[in-house]
Amino acid sequence: MSVLDHAPVLVVVLPLLTAPIIALLRSARVAGVATFVVAALDAALAFVLFARTLDGSVISYAMGGWAPPIGIEYRIDLLSAVMACLTSFSAALVAWFLPVSIAPEVTPGDRPRLFAAFLLCLAGLTGMVVTGDLFNVFVFLEISSLATYVLIAAGAGRDRRALTAAFDYLILGAVGATFVVIGIAFLYVVTGTLNMADLGNRLPLAGKRAGVVGASFLFVGLALKTAMMPLHRWLPNAYTFAPAAVTTFLAMTATKVALYLMIRLAVLVFGTPDEIGRINFATVLPPIGLVMLIAGSALAVVSADLKRLLAFSSIANLGLMLVALGLGGAAGIAAALVNLINHAVIKGGMFATVAGIVHRRGSSRMDSLAGLSREMPFAFVFLMIGGMGLIGVPLTAGFVSKLLVVKTAFDLGQTMIAAGVLLSSLISVVYVWRIVEACMIAKPAKPGRRHDVHPIFAAPMALLGVGTLALGIEGGPLLDVATRIAAALTGGAS
């Protein structure tokens, strides 16, 4: 029983316990370093989990020795491990430049508490991904949401609208979470168990009506959390007014984990395409996805702030993931997962670059970007790599994800969906080229001399930028992992 055997629970407990300790520290510098160390350790643990589940085995960890279905069981399969890696690696990357990035917004006295909130958010997200118990998912969902509200509110130092953004997100998030709880209640009433795997077996035998009501509530709750249109109104304000570092972390994880839940429950709770009655993804998701792709991109084209533009672009890309999920089957889920990881890397890279730009120039409004290509060439290059990824230019991760969705659609004969995806992805050209023209073509009021990003931002930007290109050039390995996960989910669904 070496320490690593406890990895499944440690990956959650570590940030959970260190958060209060860091909150009590007086020196902001020490707290910052500690946060990064904890996040890095957490990432290492997650990687251990990933290594262990890579061969397809599933780690089952009974909390406190109580065997499932009574006790809470942490079931970690490859999907959970990959998602845990995503959340913890993102946290580590962001924690690296968090102290420097939020310096202008948060007074040194408050910073330790902010770092604590950051770790709590990490703990909540990782917990949601790792736990096998449905109610436990709700608890971690609430933990991560509450921490996120605090993190967003921290942006008030630069723009007071962060407060209202946080408040809006709180109300909507709470309503969403409560819907999830109601959903869980109905599922529990019908099946008598909260363990997801167990629930998956019992649900088909259970009574139809309650299960259906539960699934509907759960779907709406998760829809709100994944900012599915029309329930997306909290995301643009939250991403825009939160501190840039927080936005980077949210963009890489928040909606992704909610989407993970949808994928996890897609087979267990929500109906398979041929089943009427329960929420049938094949008919519901593609239309909503395409609407998100088009509307999101359209709103991105007209937004005046770069962070707001990228926020709407996230909604658009989320639409693409939902379309992939809607295509259903192993191929659909695999495409959705590849999209999820690729988008996290691309958008993470871009928001990290924006964090660097905001740290240096104080604002991320489009008209303040003039002359960026000359004054901050390093930042401009990585902004471009991200932009090309959003358009889906070959040799970037964006192309691989779009290609997979279109090929899966063609494979399943859904040529209309493929055409819809291709057409609506054209709008992304427009808003990315707005960024290019804002940085490269617009004439700055007074041509400043060359003054690039603060060195601390260099590492995460470079890592994510190179990641965007690497995932674009050698997309094979990621697709292989995703296919294995999808096969496990759909094929071996107990």
Binding site: L146, Y149, A156, R158, D159, L163, T164, F167, A304
Partner: protein
């Protein structure tokens, strides 16, 4: 008729849920929205507890002399849910206070013009 009586708790849940949501939707004052949210969450708690009742079962606290107990699991779950509810309320109220300080109001219709998303940032110094 018996069903109607037997289902009384679920009627209560539905009633509470709808009033809570109505307050959140209709009320302009942020604090009142939070109260509405609170009511909405309480309705869920009642739903869980009502689910767990076993007719003739005593509340799930170990006591000598009782044999049948109500299902303890929903009650336990709701304990956590209550904690979560309180935490959300606390954060909500804290935010309401900070909004009051920064914007000088907590009425949503007064706040909307001030928080025009596309307008450039006019951050006030720290409250």
């Amino acid at each position: 008729m018996k069903d109607l009586v037997g289902l009384f708790p679920y009627w209560a849940v539905a009633l509470l849920m709808m009033t809570g949501l109505y307050i959140v939707i209709a009320q302009g004052n942020l604090v009142k929205k939070l109260i509405g949210l609170g009511i909405f969450q309480v309705s869920v708690f009642v739903l869980y507890i009502a689910m767990g009742v076993v007719s003739g079962g005593t509340p799930p606290i170990l006591e000598t002399g009782f044999v049948t107990y109500s299902n303890p699991l929903p009650s336990v779950l709701i304990l956590t849910a209550i904690v979560v509810g309180v935490a959300t309320l606390a954060v909500g109220l804290a935010l309401a206070v900070r909004i009051r300080e920064s914007f000088g109001t907590v009425e949503e219709d007064e706040l909307l013009p001030l928080t025009e998303p596309e307008a450039p940032a006019d951050a006030e110094p720290h409250a």
